[in-house]
């Protein structure tokens, strides 16, 4: 067994010049063994799960917990210092039900899942297409070069999630800035506490508005649950924060980083641009989700009992981190995994996680990426980078990976 001082530090750094690949040290660990002890910022040494099969098995295992308040849970950073609300006896960094176990997790999650049902989301396609078309009209009429993140990648999902939740888009500077702070690895606990407080306060006020004047949106549905006594207003506001952050940050990064990856793989971009087959676009969405895997902080759990897996025994109370980014590069699950191939069948990737906490917004993310990847390169066939790869600022410090800026021209 590896002792504490030998365990490598996690998370690890990507190699210079390889912005789309997971850190080489992570790949080396995966090649060695399916589970390895790693060392976190606080000196704790949870298990890092590096292979696809073991990741899926553990994330779907009811003997693991996502409850961030349990001893042994591998915290990604020093926890935010929030005062406990009256209805919450335990210390709990608020990111709503993604950090809870069943049955409360399932009870709360099921309050919002209907809005993300596949057919409900499919009905939003014309609205998403219209948002994408309008932003591209505006971008193409403006000066070159332009920052694709600011002009397109961030506004698309922000506008969509604002419409779905019933959040005024005019406030986007406010919620985008605070979201960025919350997911920045290098933000101090005080900074993250302040940002989360600001967003929760904002959503709490919005909840009051929706209680007074319900509209046809998801926050109003949550307000109805508050009125019915099924949800405290605090929990409703926290859920709103979760959906708002998850709804725009992740997709924005997939749009910008995905575009950069395609520009750096012109033969793959050509396949997408020159095909009018919706199946090609759908397949490219899955492959880019797999290949880029932007949530590069690992999915975190703690063992409730002893679990034997991959030749080791995880003890009750041991932390577990499933590094799904390297799992998506597992040669046992994907042939030639380090190659970007938009025609491959990548549908079984773990970019959205696995188990009961798998991303509930995935139908929306897929729809947005489908419309974006299916429109952008056909509308702007001469799209090109207006800088060099080494000048691009990557989000190495974010729990969600991507680019801060992407200067493009056409």
């Amino acid at each position: 067994m590896t002792t504490t001082h030998e365990a490598p530090a996690y998370p690890m750094s990507r190699a210079a010049g390889c912005p789309f690949d997971p850190p080489p040290d992570l790949a080396a660990l995966a090649a060695e063994a399916p589970l390895t002890r790693v060392r976190l910022w606080d000196g704790s040494t949870p298990w890092l799960v590096t292979r696809y099969a073991e990741q899926r098995a553990l994330l779907a295992d009811p003997r693991v917990s996502a409850d961030v308040t349990r001893p042994g849970y591998p915290l990604p950073a020093q926890p935010r210092q929030e005062s406990s609300p009256d209805d919450e006896p335990k210390r709990r960094p608020s990111l709503s039900f993604i950090l809870m176990d069943d049955p409360e997790h399932a009870r709360q999650r099921r309050m919002v899942t209907s809005a993300f049902a596949v057919k409900r989301i499919a009905a939003l396609r014309p609205a998403v297409q219209s948002i994408v078309d309008d932003l591209l009209d505006e971008m193409l009429a403006g000066p070159r070069p332009v920052d694709l993140v600011e002009a397109f990648a961030l506004p698309v999902p922000s506008l969509v999630i604002c419409q779905l939740l019933g959040v005024p888009y005019a406030e986007h500077d406010f919620f985008q800035a605070n979201s960025r702070t919350i997911i920045r690895r290098t933000a101090t606990a005080a900074e993250r506490t302040a940002a989360m407080g600001a967003l929760t306060g904002y959503l709490d006020e919005l909840m009051a508005t929706k209680l007074a004047e319900p509209a046809d949106d998801l926050l109003s549905q949550l307000a109805e649950r508050v009125r019915a006594g099924e949800l405290t207003r605090r929990y409703a506001a926290e859920m709103g924060v979760l959906l708002l952050i998850a709804g725009h940050e992740t997709t924005a990064n997939m749009i910008a980083l995905g575009t950069l990856a395609l520009l750096e793989h012109p033969e793959q971009l050509a396949i997408l641009r020159d095909s009018d087959d919706p199946a090609v676009v759908a397949s490219a969405v899955e492959e880019l989700l797999r290949y880029l895997h932007i949530t590069h902080n690992g999915r975190r759990r703690v063992a409730l009992t002893d679990i034997e897996i991959g030749g080791v025994t995880i003890r009750a109370g041991d932390g577990i981190i499933a590094a799904n980014d390297i799992g998506n590069r597992d040669p046992a699950a994907f042939e030639d995994p380090d190659r970007l191939d938009v025609r491959r069948d990548a549908r079984h990737h773990v970019a959205f996680g696995f188990g009961i906490h798998q991303c509930l917004g995935q139908p929306l993310a897929r729809l947005e990426l489908d419309v974006v990847y299916g429109t952008l390169y056909r509308r702007v066939p001469t799209l090109a980078l207006a800088t060099t790869l080494d000048e691009i600022p990557f989000k190495h410090d974010g729990s969600v990976y991507g680019v801060y800026e992407l200067p493009v021209t056409w």
């Binding site: 596949v118 057919k119 989301i121 696995f354 798998q358 509930l360």
Partner: protein, 64 residues
């Protein structure tokens, strides 16, 4: 092919509907999966197998 679905385990990810919309649907009220056809025709077999493979809650079982 005989299919069973555990609705208590389902987490409403919608993966099964994306894989085989002829065989799976979702409840209006909470997105929980609904099995439309317990013995789907051979033409849907691949989609159903994929649905079972990608279901994050392991809620779909298949007997051939």
């Amino acid at each position: 092919m005989k299919v069973t679905l555990d609705q208590d385990a389902c987490v409403a990810s919608g993966q099964c509907v994306m894989a085989a919309a002829e065989v799976f649907d979702q409840r209006d009220e909470d997105g929980i999966a609904v099995l439309l056809d317990e013995t789907p025709a051979a033409e849907h077999a691949d989609g159903v197998r994929q649905a079972a493979a990608v279901c994050p809650a392991l809620a779909i079982a298949i007997e051939d």
